[in-house]
């Protein structure tokens, strides 16, 4: 048995100048993971005065998790105008029945309240163990801690806030995966940033949203 190469050099710093304008992000520990030092909840919100467009590609697994179903439904209901996302790690909220759907909707609803939306419009993602219910009260409490009036609010456009968000995506990942760069189209400069996670159960076959099951709001 041999030791694999260190992968820490893939964890790169990002410059604030390369981050897209008009987004705020945060990553925090809310209590899904046992390790109190590990981030397990990320929130990203667009605060752009222009309308935000949203799109998604989703697993074609027959057992789509509750957040997968809810996010597709949100894209449909908003006609692709969602402007935020909320992500938890440590629990996949998959194969969790009706309660799982309610929990995913609750995550979306509470995140939407952060920017004054009454209807749930935040995209939702979860990752972790399959078949366990989310500790939804802990998650909702943590989302509420990001309200504009809250002293605990950590949502920020800073590079460090994005890095904390990337850490909140991680499960068995050994480094946070975040990249950002600039590009030009027609003489205009734009920025693009991305966060992803994954280390095992990786062979994705994803496609655009389909409405495939009745959902409850």
């Amino acid at each position: 048995m041999k030791t694999g190469p260190s992968k820490q050099h893939f964890a790169l710093p990002i410059s604030e100048a390369s981050l897209p304008k008009g987004f705020v992000a945060t990553g925090l520990h809310c209590g899904v993971k046992k390790d109190a030092t590990a981030n397990d909840l990320a929130i990203i919100i667009s605060e752009s005065p222009r309308e935000t467009s949203a799109a998604g590609c989703f697993t074609k697994n027959a057992f789509q998790a509750a957040p997968v179903c809810v996010s597709q439904e949100i894209l449909r209901r908003t006609n692709g105008r969602a402007r935020s996302l909320v992500v938890n790690s440590g629990c996949a909220n998959a194969v969790t029945g009706e309660q799982g759907l309610q929990d995913a909707w609750a995550m979306s609803q509470e995140t939407s309240h952060l920017y004054g939306a009454q209807e749930p419009s935040a995209l939702v993602m979860s990752t972790g163990v399959i078949g366990q219910k989310l500790p939804i009260s802990k998650i909702v409490t943590a989302i509420k801690s990001q309200a504009r009036s809250a002293a605990t609010r950590s949502l920020s456009p800073s590079a460090s806030a994005w890095q904390e968000a990337a850490k909140a995506f991680m499960t068995t990942d050994t480094f946070p995966k975040i990249r950002a760069r600039t590009f030009s189209i027609g003489g205009a400069d734009y920025r693009i940033a991305g966060i992803d996670k994954g280390a095992g159960m990786i062979h994705p076959i994803m496609g655009p949203p389909v409405a495939n099951r009745p959902l409850h709001a």
């Binding site: 997968v68 105008r81 068995t172 189209i185 095992g200 990786i202 994705p204 994803m206």
Partner: protein
């Protein structure tokens, strides 16, 4: 599970963002494999908020601004490929990052299916871990793909190992005929952290697909033996 988000301050219409994302995902995240298992939660989302564009600049749209759309789609695709590769590099227990290229296939779908099959073969992946240039397993895996639009002609297939350090490739099979493998050179290449396996179908088509995979190690079993408990 794969999760990801891509955020940009470019202005893009919702339908065009979905079109560009679907194109990008098909050529990036849908071309990676660590262990061949598809999650219940795999999701990639994209948000485009237009914050870098003045109000009078219209959103990029596939129908009304095709040149701008194609430029955006190319940027998005290349960016998605970079993000997707990070996942493979961090594959549980992985010690190798391996690009599987299938070229000169009749269709992209044929090339993609062959590359996917090789990238998920447990025997290929354990050989990669053992740094064994076991091209026989690569061929066997390639040949097991059913329902290709044009069946593989074994007499036309070539296989090479291509190092990432810019040195010469090592052909191990040329037009269906095995070469005498320089095992020392093979070991040099397979000891690298990154290298490529190139499978030239030698068909009259010219379609190519790339897949990114990793080796399968003892560490993978250790990590996953008690993930739930």
């Amino acid at each position: 599970t794969l999760l990801g988000c891509i955020l940009t301050d470019a202005p893009v219409t919702p339908s065009s963002l979905q079109s560009a994302l679907t194109h990008a995902v098909d050529r990036s995240f849908n071309c990676i494999s660590v262990d061949g298992d598809m999650s219940t939660n795999d999701t990639i989302v994209a948000l485009a908020n237009g914050a870098a564009a003045p109000d009078d600049i219209p959103e990029i749209d596939e129908e009304t601004a095709p040149d701008a759309f194609l430029a955006f789609r190319t940027e998005l695709t290349n960016f998605a490929i970079d993000l997707a590769k990070l996942v493979v590099r961090d594959g549980e227990g992985a010690t190798k990052f391996v690009t599987v290229t299938v070229k000169n296939a009749a269709t992209y779908e044929d090339a993609h299916r062959i590359a996917s099959k090789v990238s998920t073969s447990a025997l290929v992946k354990t050989a990669l871990y053992g740094e064994d240039a076991n091209w026989g397993r690569i061929l066997s895996s390639s040949g097991s793909v059913q329902g290709l639009s044009v069946p593989i002609n074994p007499a036309r297939v070539s296989v090479s190992f291509i190092p990432s350090d810019g040195t010469a490739a090592l052909p191990v099979l040329v037009n269906g005929e095995p070469k005498i493998v320089d095992e020392v050179r093979a070991k040099e290449i397979l000891e690298l952290d990154d290298f490529e396996v190139c499978i030239d179908i030698g068909d009259f088509g010219s379609q190519q697909a790339k897949y990114w995979t990793c080796d399968l190690s003892y560490e993978y079993v250790r990590i996953n033996g008690d993930y739930r408990s």
